[in-house]
């Protein structure tokens, strides 16, 4: 139990660090009243959305709790232990609460840090960097601390795999909807603002005359900050849940908590050490922090492993995961980095028009799937083989520890990831509050660094999701085995194959539904913007103010309407396949879902990032620069890429996790009531 108490201790430490950073950021000055005014608009818009979203999600969770208590792990009228059913409901609720909290904390700090970073940029890039980075770190510390504390508490009290799964399912299902909702909100506003502002009117990105500009900035917070926070909270919890289920019978749960808590400790040290040197470049500072954290993690866990007599092979599996994460990150950086060949090639293709922009970007997106899939495949193969000699059950634990290793430094990753939208927002508010061109130059540089860092952290999170769901598949088998049924998923079993084909279609349908939502909403918002420009006299000239609230409202209403159908579809499809084809079909379903999900997530995320950076590459003065035909084509590419990379692509991770968890939870039901 030692490592579980240490985990709680480290979690507490992370809360303290988060609180310290929060106060540190909050005490920084704000430039002028206009900045405060803009900041308040963004903050209010974000919290209004969050409130409405959480109301829906609360209602949804209430319904799920009732269903869980009634049916899981077995129908309540067929079981002797009604308590288990009740506790599953409670654990689910606990998961949703913590996941929701992660989003809330993220928005609270992000909507302050943006103003502070903008203000600090008047003094120096170093100060502005610190404001953005420490703002992000509040979120990183809070998210990882609460997921670790949550898992430790649940394990400490119950030591029951179903309850751990239910906790994780709570975190994931909330993340699924929060991410979908946030992703739709942010891209609705972003696309509409870009198309009307940049393309039609030729005004700059964050021009205050654009009615959608506040909605766009709100979107950065509710989509990129809150959505991402909920997502990484969910990945982390899911990886722990899968490990716990597999590790429990092997007595290796303490080692898992050791890895996670030392990972968090390493992240705390990494975050505290991160700063931008006098001549430093911000992307190097961000990536340097990541590498430093990795090194500390490796050293700490190696020592702990020796001291506590843990299996070195399992430690090796965690290291394999961590290294694979770095490698996947570096390859995705190759495909999306603005100093690499693909971005230059796509930017060059923009000169031949939008069709070539799309074709070349999409082609690179397709290519980018290869190294990441090989990386995930090799990491799982090697960690499996490495741990096989330890005995039965350890092979799958090896894969699950590789996922844990990849996610170990998640505290640092979230800090880097949340830094991005904060400085992006800082740029926006600086422009709206007229802080001057120097501030814009600095925030632009910080923003670009955020994009580059994002490529690496995204590599980590997709890779980790891949390994996590592979180990969740193992956990599923474990759960079924616990019910007294030994199954193998034979590829030649037609039920497995049937499940696999259907499972492969789900991420495609899921992303289509989200993108169609963005499509519909942003067309509505474009109409509203046109209406305002046509009916508000003086708006074009900047003498009258636009009606920001209407645009925020369109984004909010649209996102609320569209956030649930896609996620519900995925959950219902899982249940339908399970009740038709039983556990065999579900094994195939999960596999198909993982494969197609990883493939589409990689293609969409990387193609989207590539188009974004190709546009920036042209804006930096290449191939004709801003306003050229190439730039127009690049903007079209970027618009297509927006929902690819910020709505559909990253939500697929969560979709896979949710589907895996609901499968494990429903295993007993599928064994009892399936058609085949």
């Amino acid at each position: 139990m030692l490592w579980i108490y240490i985990s709680l201790g480290v979690a507490l430490l992370s809360f303290l660090v988060a609180a310290y950073f929060y106060r540190w950021v909050k005490r920084l000055p704000t430039a002028n009243p206009r900045l405060d005014e803009v900041g308040t608009l963004i903050r209010e818009g974000a919290f209004t959305f969050l409130k409405r979203e959480y109301r829906i999600l609360g209602l949804f969770s209430a319904v799920v709790v009732v269903l869980l208590v009634l049916f899981f792990p077995q129908p309540i009228w067929t079981t002797n232990s009604v308590t288990t059913n009740l506790l599953i409901g409670v654990a689910y609720l606990f998961g949703t609460l913590l996941s929701g909290l992660a989003g809330y904390v993220g928005i609270s700090i992000a909507t302050i840090a943006n103003l502070k970073a903008a203000t600090a940029a008047r003094e120096s890039i170093q100060k502005s960097f610190m404001a953005g980075f420490r703002g992000g770190a509040v979120m990183g510390m809070a998210v990882v601390g609460s997921s670790l504390a949550g898992a430790a508490i649940i394990y400490l009290i119950f030591q029951d795999s179903n309850i751990v799964m239910a906790f994780s399912f709570g975190a994931s299902s909330l993340a699924l909807f929060a991410k979908a909702g946030g992703g739709i909100f942010t891209k609705t506003a972003d696309i509409a603002a870009d198309l009307t502002g940049k393309v039609e009117l030729g005004i700059p990105e964050d021009d205050p005359r654009n009615p959608a500009v506040i909605a766009d900035n709100v979107g950065d917070n509710v989509g990129d900050v809150a959505g991402m926070g909920a997502d990484l909270f969910d990945s982390n919890v899911a990886a722990m849940a899968a490990s716990i289920v597999i590790a429990m019978s092997l007595g290796q749960v303490p080692f898992m908590f050791c890895l996670i808590s030392l990972g968090l400790l390493a992240s705390i040290i990494g975050v505290l050490c991160s700063r931008l040197g006098k001549k430093g470049n911000p992307s190097r500072a961000l990536n340097g922090g990541t590498y430093l954290t990795c090194a500390i993690f490796a050293a700490l866990t190696f020592v702990a492993c020796l001291l506590s007599n843990f299996e070195l092979r399992l430690w090796g599996a965690a290291m394999i995961g961590m290294v694979a994460g770095v490698i996947i990150g570096i390859t995705s950086d190759f495909f999306t980095g603005d100093d690499k060949k693909p971005v230059a090639k796509v930017a060059e293709a923009c000169q031949s028009g939008p069709a070539f922009t799309i074709l070349s970007g999409f082609s690179y997106g397709l290519l980018s799937a290869l190294p990441a899939l090989i990386g995930i495949g090799l990491a799982s193969l090697i960690s499996y083989k490495l741990c096989e000699p330890l005995g039965p059950g350890y092979e799958m634990l090896g894969i699950s520890f590789a996922a844990i290793g990849m996610l170990s430094i998640v505290g640092m990753i979230i800090s880097n990831d949340a830094y991005g939208p904060i400085v992006d927002n800082a740029r926006g508010v600086a422009e709206m509050a007229d802080l001057g061109d120097e501030v814009l130059t600095i925030t632009d540089e910080l923003d670009a660094a955020g994009n580059t860092a994002k490529a690496i952290t995204k590599g980590f999170s997709i890779g980790a999701a891949g390994l996590t769901v592979i180990s969740l598949l193992g956990a599923f088998q474990e759960v079924v085995a616990a019910a007294g049924v030994t199954i193998t998923f034979d590829l030649m079993d037609p039920l497995v194959f049937f499940g696999m084909l259907v499972g492969a279609a789900i991420p495609a349908v899921f992303s289509a539904m989200l993108m169609m939502g963005v499509n519909r909403n942003s067309q509505l918002m474009v109409k509203e913007i046109h209406r305002q420009f046509n009916s508000i006299p003086g708006l074009r000239e900047g003498t009258a103010k636009p009606d920001y609230a209407r645009c925020i409202d369109i984004s909010t209403v649209g996102a609320i309407r569209e956030l649930s159908p896609a996620g519900l579809m995925a959950i219902v499809a899982t249940l339908v396949v399970g009740f038709i084809g039983g556990v065999q079909a579900i094994g195939g379903f999960l596999t198909g879902n993982i494969i197609s999900g990883l493939l589409l997530a990689l293609i969409m995320s990387n193609a989207g990032g590539l188009w974004d950076n190709a546009k920036k590459f042209i804006e930096a003065g290449n191939f004709g620069g801003k306003g050229s035909e190439a730039h127009k084509a690049a903007v079209i590419g970027d618009t297509v890429g927006d929902p690819f990379k910020d709505t559909a692509g990253p939500s697929i991770n969560t979709q896979i996790t949710v589907v895996s968890l609901i499968s494990s939870l429903s295993a007993t039901l599928f064994l009892l009531y399936s058609l085949f």
Copy 2:
């Protein structure tokens, strides 16, 4: 042996019908010398390309034959039966020859029928329809007849599964390169012609002033006719090969030949009955022929089944395959048909600009994968379960007979499919030879019907490829079992999983490579067209002639250069995975390849078809019609869709088949020499 002789008889009959139609089409009149002149240019361009392509493919085949003889099924120095190695080489060559011949016959007739259909359109739509349809039918009859005759002869002489596989591998590997080459040729020209002609200069599609117009028309023949012919030849042979391997030990090979030969007979009857009524609409005539053929096939085989005492359950499996084919076809028609909601929705989105065109079309493409994947999944599940009671081995035979059932009416399908590019070409030559607006209206109507019919036939061919490769997976297991090793592909085996992840990436990389080829080449051709318009005085006004040959040359050289890398990559990847992970990894590799291949093929084919028809929908006068902003956006969508639907999408089928066949052929090698 009775049914094998009947097969040879029916094949002979189909050759006679092909010869009859060939003479019938050839005797039709040609309108004027200008038409002859244009026709000759197209014909010469097509044969020049074919000759150069076949030279490369001949060289390639020679190398493969040497490798096959040296290494397959076992290294020649380790085997006692050198003859088997030699015969494998011979069978491979026979397969390539027949597959190459299919393309040759197709081009021979298509480059005549286009002129005849254009001329006949001066008289009536009925006559023009008959010229196009019977031209297509020459190809349909020749392709299916020769594949049936080839398989029957190979089986009659050798009765050896390795040799059957080698024959099929010959057909498929040639098809892979022919399709890639043809696909790159046709889209290079098509995109360049559209972008410069329609978008920049605002001249009509087949305007003779456009230097790329002849290359575009040549492309219709070498890409759509020859490439498609080689592809369906390959699917048909692969389905037969998989069936033979599985059916041999069960003594069910005669039933398979019964199904295929009666399917061809049904197609012959269907083709002979097809004609366009006085008030008929051409799409109904095409689809009517397909349904009629299905009905005849069902009736004939049912009677044969009773008379010859074949297993009714196996007949049922074939029927399931056929019905699934029709259903998949109808659903893909929903997503691409110009009278259905998706096309109208995408056309509507075009009004908001190209980004929405791409996003909405791609989203529908993603959605379209669902019904087809469920259809393939259900067809394999039900046919497996239906045949399971017959005993071990029959379940996989059930799936393979479902594939045979789906491909049974392939004679009719090819006729419909080849009809499309013929009437498309007829439209082109009619415009270039100034046959008048009435002729253009008629050929436009015929062309639109071709597009609609294509949706259904494409559904058939992707569905059939899906079922075929599932049964090839069964055949692979059979081949490994024959080597004395019983394997199960357990999803939780890390080698299987590793193979699956890598296998899933291959179709993505394969399509990316093809599309990048098209991208590069068409940018070159756009430059050449600009050069001609700038340097040839009087070209813009129509008083001087463009240099068509240069454009044909760019397409040819580019296609020759780009046709092999993608296919070789897929083959090499298979060998690498096999030698690393052995047969287990290959089992996973094939599964991943099938899943991701089907998914991407469906998404790309359907999104491409949808964009094409959305453009036509706008051109028909909706949302502003030709020349409007919506039309420009739609043209961009269509350009993106071109390589999606005509280069990458359909080539993936063949890639999957080739990879499956090379795996089966190399099974013994992988068993002997793998790393794990």
